[in-house]
Symmetry: C2
Subunit: 496 residues, 2 copies
């Protein structure tokens, strides 16, 4: 298939981005490598004053036959040894390593070539990109990338769209910048395209239209919902119609699992005959259907390797990435050289297939954790129509929806205010020795004025509240214990 | 001495900072460590899914008797072995290590305790802090910290003060945010207090007064000048009078050296009898004289260990650091866990004294590099009053000041415009195979309207231009060769 170039979305850039100049020093830093030039141009310390050499670290070896949860034994047969020297390439096969003399120096605003090259191949493998001038940019993770995205596109007073309940830090970052977060309703299949379209079709022409839709399509935080492929197609079409950029924040993308099967005897975990079987099983991403460069995808190693790597990447058109690079040169510069050297060193030894093996192993673990959590919810939560469990098919989170009006003191003590019931339950669960968090913490309650059609503001369930729990953070026995405590707290509170 | 608490400078915070909410999730993340609570509150992956263990790296061992430029041999007698496990504290003496299970997890917005504790002790040792409620915060380096500082204190349309020539990226970061950078004249002893005072005393009362003075006191970039202790005292007093915050950006602080001695026979390098002798030799910092929490100091490992660590720290009052922490939670979160584990692992093995030994070794290296550079400038540059070399006493940079009007074609080809001569010289040096950079690249040319007294805008030397070179980036032989090429280029261009 011949693919075309991306469109130009520079009309969406913020005043700040339009005004941002590149440092002239960056225009000559390439001369550092030019053998004909003596470089007296920039304050780059000599690498001989970097005090480190012989970086080594161990990881398990693909295909991770003992699962991914075991530390490497140190034995060569099941251990991947990463060894990065300061100056030399020591062994054949290590040519993909980022020597410390380079990893620890200035330069490479986009990230180190050995890391980018792995991530590019991975991106093509998973998303089969549909336009030609895309690229990847190394980041310090999606939290920072989102904040940068707001700086790059939005001015004070702008409005963006987001799922009605979403990652609170993402909302607060926008609000601090004076950006209004307009909520779009979602259900267990994610954001609802019809609602999005109604909102945009009826947008008050006297106010600036949103430029960006912020979405967490897979294992949405906090609802745990995952967006269906059909909805994505519909939303992409709406984005085209209304000139929206889609920002897909996908830290949980590889934590996709089988649909929850309540009947244990019917439960059967999917086995993948091949890597391409695994890839085919994955949800269609927005970036994979993007022919125009309208989608900006934020990926992260935080949930699949470790948050402390502070390493992620953005996939977008080169035209858009330029704006991120210019901002990065004034902010993070680039991710830690140690992180890049270790992650690239590990992934280039594992190979693309090895990384997929890791992700398949991770899927298996989360599948089990999800099953244990949902089983425990069905076992320990009072059986009543006032409580509804939503078994997720991806991510780290489950939610329990509660009809606050079922509380015996709803109309009296709580004055028919569901948020007061929510707070009371939260206090109760903490006292009971378990932490699950109230849905209200995640509510995008931005200004929905100027008036939108009443329909777009209608709550799906006016007395509905929910709590978000995770099966990620604790081992299985603790998980069961925590959910049992949650069940007891609800039973006591509601006198079910 | 009894020391008091810092003052409250929250009136200087930007609208953004005042509006920034903390994520409620951060309020409960401490429960992750609470043994009475089952933590189902946040998406923290289990550390058993972090694929790494047995991180090892080598560095030289204090007191670095063979200098700091040699790689460790691997022999125990001159090699410091850092070994960080995933879960265990393996040996006595390793209790200061940041285990990978923690380094790679979420949390610790301020930085890991083992790193902070080293940096706190170092700060007290060097700066002998004069108020009680100061602290340190781990950052990803001064570039990012400066950009964050602007976000924390400035609104669009605000004005800040900076040295007339300063790090261009710092200027551009401000300008992109719609902040005006008002230039304050400086000479070889740094920013001139009298000029600063005149500017502020005569500030147009109808426009907002600057809140911040941005300064690089030691080895200033690009001029290479270092501010005298007396000037710092005077400037601190002016800051108190005009309610200014002082932002001291000090990446080159430990690259202080002996005064340049032209006569080689008179040259004698200072030997320090003790660590406290070394500390006494250092320039007085603004933070060391701050009794009010009016100074924010940005320090970095970039120039003393390696830029790719992407690790630095801020010293300031706890009240002010709170605003940085809240911003960090939406941006970088914290520096790379690998960087923190390796740097803390190394520094805690070296000890405070060992780190000082390293810094003394670094001083020696830069002292030599500076001498070689300045010797070469005197040797290869044409001897004429139109050229003036400024031997620096700190940092990475030297400058050559040029009287553009001495160019034979100044009034004709260059229409008496010094900036055209500057561009012609730049083109010429690049063609001659050396890169030095024009002073104009660093000029803070912000709006100085509303009118200031003419005196405050007067150029010290209207036809003066300069070029910045560095002795940091190349070995000594290359350095000499580069300066020789620079000299030939100037000779040809000016027909001296």
């Amino acid at each position: 298939m011949t693919v075309g170039e991306s469109l130009d979305f520079s009309h969406h850039f913020s005043e700040e981005t339009k005004a941002r100049k590149s440092s002239p020093l960056k225009t000559c830093i390439h001369l550092f490598q030019d053998p004909n030039i003596v470089f007296l141009g920039g304050g780059l310390p000599l690498s001989k004053y970097f005090p480190w050499d012989n970086l080594q670290i161990e990881s398990p070896l693909p295909p991770f036959v003992n699962g991914i949860g075991e530390s490497p034994s140190g034995d060569d047969k099941d251990t991947c040894h990463v060894e990065v020297k300061k100056n030399e390439i020591t062994k054949a096969g290590d040519t993909n390593d980022i020597q410390l003399s380079r990893a620890l120096q200035y330069g490479f605003s986009m990230g180190q070539p050995e890391l980018l090259s792995f991530v590019r191949d991975h991106t093509q493998l998973i998303h089969n990109m549909k336009y030609s001038d895309w690229d990847v940019l190394a980041t310090t993770g999606n939290t920072c990338s989102w904040e940068s995205t707001l700086r790059i596109f939005c001015n004070r007073g702008d409005t963006i769209l987001a799922e009605q309940y979403t990652f609170s830090s993402s909302i607060y970052a926008a609000e601090a910048q004076g950006i209004n977060v307009f909520p779009v309703p979602l259900d267990e299949h994610g954001l609802i395209p019809e609602r999005l379209e109604t909102i945009l079709d009826n947008w008050n022409p006297e106010t600036k239209k949103p430029k960006i839709l912020y979405t967490i399509p897979t294992g949405q935080n906090p609802t745990g919902s995952s967006m269906s492929d059909e909805r994505k197609v519909a939303i992409y079409r709406i984005a085209q119609k209304h000139d929206l950029l889609i920002l897909e924040d996908e830290p949980y993308y590889f934590l996709q699992m089988d649909a929850y099967q309540k009947d244990v005897s019917q439960r059967k975990e999917t086995e993948f005959a091949s890597h391409s079987d695994f890839i085919s099983s994955l949800a269609k991403s927005f970036i994979s259907m993007d022919t125009e460069g309208r989608v900006i995808r934020m990926d992260s190693f935080s949930k699949v390797l470790g948050p402390g790597t502070r390493l992620g990447w953005i996939v977008a058109s080169k035209k858009i990435l330029q704006a991120y690079i210019k901002l990065h040169e004034m902010t993070i510069q680039n991710p830690s050289g140690f992180s890049q050297a270790i992650v690239a060193g590990t992934l280039n030894r594992w190979g693309q297939g090895g990384f997929l093996d890791w992700l398949i192993g991770l899927r298996r673990e989360y599948n089990e954790k999800r099953d244990v959590a949902i089983d425990a919810l069905y076992e320990y939560l009072p059986e009543t129509p006032a409580l509804r469990v939503n078994p997720p098919t991806a991510g780290m989170f489950f939610t329990v929806n509660i009809d606050a009006s079922a509380h015996p003191e709803f109309a009296t003590k709580y004055q028919s205010k569901p948020e007061l019931v929510e707070q009371a339950i939260y206090d109760k669960v903490i006292k009971s020795g378990v932490l699950v968090v109230p849905g209200i913490w995640f509510k995008a309650s931005g200004d929905t004025q100027p008036p939108q059609p009443a329909e777009s503001k209608k709550e799906l369930d006016p007395n509905g509240i929910f709590f978000r729990g995770t099966y990620a953070a604790v081992p299985l026995d603790k998980l069961k214990e925590g959910i049992q405590r949650f069940g007891i707290a609800l039973k006591e509170e509601f006198q079910f």
